[in-house]
C-alpha cells in the first residue's frame, strides 16, 4: 500500500497537539451526571459542548418509552429495512415526522449524516447540478460526491450569489437542487431563507433545508428556521437529525414530493445499513411529542442563549452570530484557541474547539452550545470561566 497523505496530515496534527500536551479531540466523559454536567478527569464539568438543545437526554418519558421497547422488541433489528424488514415503529415514526412538519411523507435514516448522503445521492445523479452553500456541513459535501452530480458552491448565506450561479445554468436551472442549512453549526448563523426561496421559485428549482441545528430550537412549534421564516410550505425537503434537540441518534427527511415513495429504494445509505434499534425509535417518537409541546423549554433555551451571548459580549469577546443556541467565540489563532480551550476545561467547562478547515474564514473558535436544561447559574459559571482567561480575547 502506498503512503496515505491524508493519514500523514492527521498524524502531523496529532503530533503537534501531543507536543503541546493538550488533546481536545479525545475528550472522555467518564460519567454523565445530567444533560448539562459530566465527570471529566475526576472533575465535575458543565457541558456546553453538546447539541442537547432541549436537554431531553434524561427526559423520564423518553427513557420509559425506550425501556418498554427494549423489553418488548429487543436490543436491535440486526439488518436493513429493505433486506431484513422494518418494525412497525420505523414507519410510525415516519408518519409522526410527516404530521409534525405538515408534509406528505417522511423517510427515517440511521444517522443525520446518512440522511444528507441518502437524500442528495438519490435525488440527483451525474447529469444533474447541486448548488450548495460554501459553508455546508461535510455530510452535504459527501452526499454530493456520492451522487456524482455537478456540484457548484455559492458564497455563504448569499442569495444573490446563488442567483448569479443559477443564471449561468441556463435552461438546466429548473432541474437544479439547492441545499442550505437552517442554522450553521460553527457560527450559529441562520440562512436568509425567504430570499433563498425567492431564488428557488424564480428558477423553478428544488430546495432542501437541513434543520439539524434549528429543529426544536426555532419556530413557534420547533419546526426550525423554515417555520420561523414562514417558508415551510415552500421548502421541498426538510432534512434533520434525532441527535440534537431530540436527544437520540438517527436522521430523517420530510417532503411532499411523490419521489419520496420510491426514493428510499434508490438510496444506498438507506438500503445498505442497519435500521435504528427499537429503543431509539420509541424514545425519539416520545421526544418528538415532547418537542412539539415544548414552548416553555424553547423559551428557557432562548433565555439561556441570550444570557450567555450577553455575558460573553460584555467580556469583550468577538461572537459569531446574534443570540442562538450556538454561541461561537472567534479567536483567530489556533494555538491561542487550544490553550484557551484547555483553560476552560481546567475550570470545569467543556466547549468545542473548532479549527480550520472545519471553520469558516480560517479562524479557530470556541463553540458553546446552550441547552434549555442549563440553569442560569451554570450559564454564569460558563461566563466566569471565560472571564478568568488572561490571554488575548480576539
Amino acid at each position: 500500500m502506498k503512503e496515505n497523505s491524508r493519514l500523514q496530515a492527521v498524524q502531523a496534527v496529532r503530533q503537534e497537539l501531543s507536543a503541546i500536551g493538550i488533546d481536545p479531540f479525545g475528550v472522555q466523559i467518564d460519567r454523565i451526571l445530567s444533560p448539562t454536567e459530566g465527570l471529566i478527569d475526576g472533575r465535575p464539568t458543565i457541558l456546553a459542548g453538546t447539541n442537547n438543545y432541549l436537554g431531553l437526554t434524561f427526559d423520564p418519558d423518553c427513557i420509559a418509552a425506550a425501556h418498554e421497547a427494549l423489553e418488548t422488541a429487543g436490543t436491535g433489528t440486526t439488518g436493513s429495512r429493505m433486506a431484513n424488514g422494518s418494525y412497525a415503529g420505523h414507519r410510525e415514526l415516519e408518519l409522526d415526522l410527516a404530521r409534525f412538519f405538515g408534509k406528505r411523507d417522511a423517510i427515517v435514516f440511521s444517522t443525520g449524516y446518512q440522511a444528507n448522503l441518502g437524500m442528495i445521492s438519490a435525488l440527483v445523479g451525474p447529469d444533474d447540478t447541486v448548488m450548495i452553500d460554501a459553508d455546508s456541513h461535510a455530510s452535504i459535501y459527501d452526499g454530493c460526491r456520492l451522487s456524482g452530480a455537478n456540484t457548484i458552491r455559492f458564497r455563504h448565506n448569499d442569495p444573490a450569489d446563488l442567483a448569479k450561479r443559477m443564471r449561468r445554468l441556463g435552461a438546466d436551472a429548473a432541474q437544479a437542487l439547492i441545499v442550505v442549512e437552517g442554522v450553521y453549526s460553527m457560527l450559529g448563523d441562520r440562512a436568509p431563507l425567504r430570499e433563498f426561496v425567492e431564488v428557488k421559485n424564480a428558477f423553478g428549482a428544488t430546495l432542501m433545508v437541513d434543520e439539524a441545528h434549528s429543529m426544536g430550537v426555532l419556530g413557534e412549534k420547533g419546526r426550525g428556521l423554515s417555520e420561523e421564516a414562514g417558508m415551510l410550505a415552500q421548502v421541498d425537503y426538510v432534512v434533520g437529525t434525532f441527535s440534537k434537540s431530540l436527544g437520540n441518534t438517527g436522521g430523517f427527511c420530510v417532503g411532499d414530493a411523490a419521489e419520496l415513495d420510491v426514493l428510499r429504494y434508490a438510496s444506498r445509505p438507506y438500503v445498505f445499513t442497519a435500521s435504528l434499534p427499537p429503543a431509539t425509535i420509541a424514545a425519539t417518537r416520545q421526544a418528538l411529542r415532547t418537542l412539539a409541546a415544548a414552548d416553555a423549554l424553547r423559551q428557557r433555551l432562548r433565555d439561556n442563549a441570550a444570557r450567555l451571548h450577553a455575558g460573553l459580549a460584555a467580556l469583550g469577546f468577538r461572537l459569531g452570530a446574534p443570540p442562538n443556541a450556538v454561541v461561537a467565540v472567534l479567536l483567530g489563532d489556533k494555538l491561542q484557541a487550544l490553550r484557551f480551550w484547555d483553560h476552560l476545561m481546567k475550570h470545569g467547562v467543556y466547549v468545542n474547539l473548532m479549527m480550520p478547515p472545519a471553520t469558516p474564514g480560517g479562524e479557530s473558535l470556541l463553540r458553546c452550545s446552550v441547552s434549555a436544561a442549563h440553569t442560569p447559574a451554570q450559564i454564569d459559571a460558563i461566563c466566569a470561566a471565560f472571564a478568568s482567561w488572561s490571554g488575548p480575547r480576539a
Binding site: 454530493c144 457548484i152 458552491r153 458564497r155 449561468r168 478547515p357
Partner: protein
C-alpha cells in the same frame, strides 16, 4: 480566449495569494504544492475565478486540477473554448 491569456489572468489572481512563496508563477506551478494553498484557499480561489470569467466550475471538475495550466484548461472548458 486562448490558453495563455487564461494563464496570464490566473497569475494576476494568484500572485497576492502566493505571499511571495513563488516568485515566478506559470503554467506548471502547482497550486497545493508550490503555492501551498490549502483546500479552503483553493475553494476560495475557485469562487474568485468563477467571478472573473463569469463561469461556474463544479467541485467535481477540480479533481484532476494540479497546476495553474490544469486550472486554465478547466476554465476554457467552462468558457466553451473546446479544449
Amino acid at each position: 480566449m486562448n490558453h495563455q491569456d487564461v494563464v496570464a489572468q490566473l497569475v494576476d489572481i494568484l500572485t497576492p495569494l502566493a505571499e511571495g512563496r513563488v516568485t515566478a508563477i506559470g503554467e506548471d506551478t502547482e497550486l497545493t504544492g508550490e503555492l501551498a494553498l490549502d483546500s479552503l484557499k483553493v475553494m476560495d480561489l475557485v469562487l474568485a475565478v468563477e467571478d472573473r470569467f463569469d463561469i461556474s466550475i463544479p467541485i467535481n471538475a477540480l479533481a484532476d486540477v494540479r497546476t495553474v495550466g490544469d486550472l486554465a484548461s478547466t476554465i476554457q472548458k467552462g468558457l466553451g473554448d473546446g479544449v
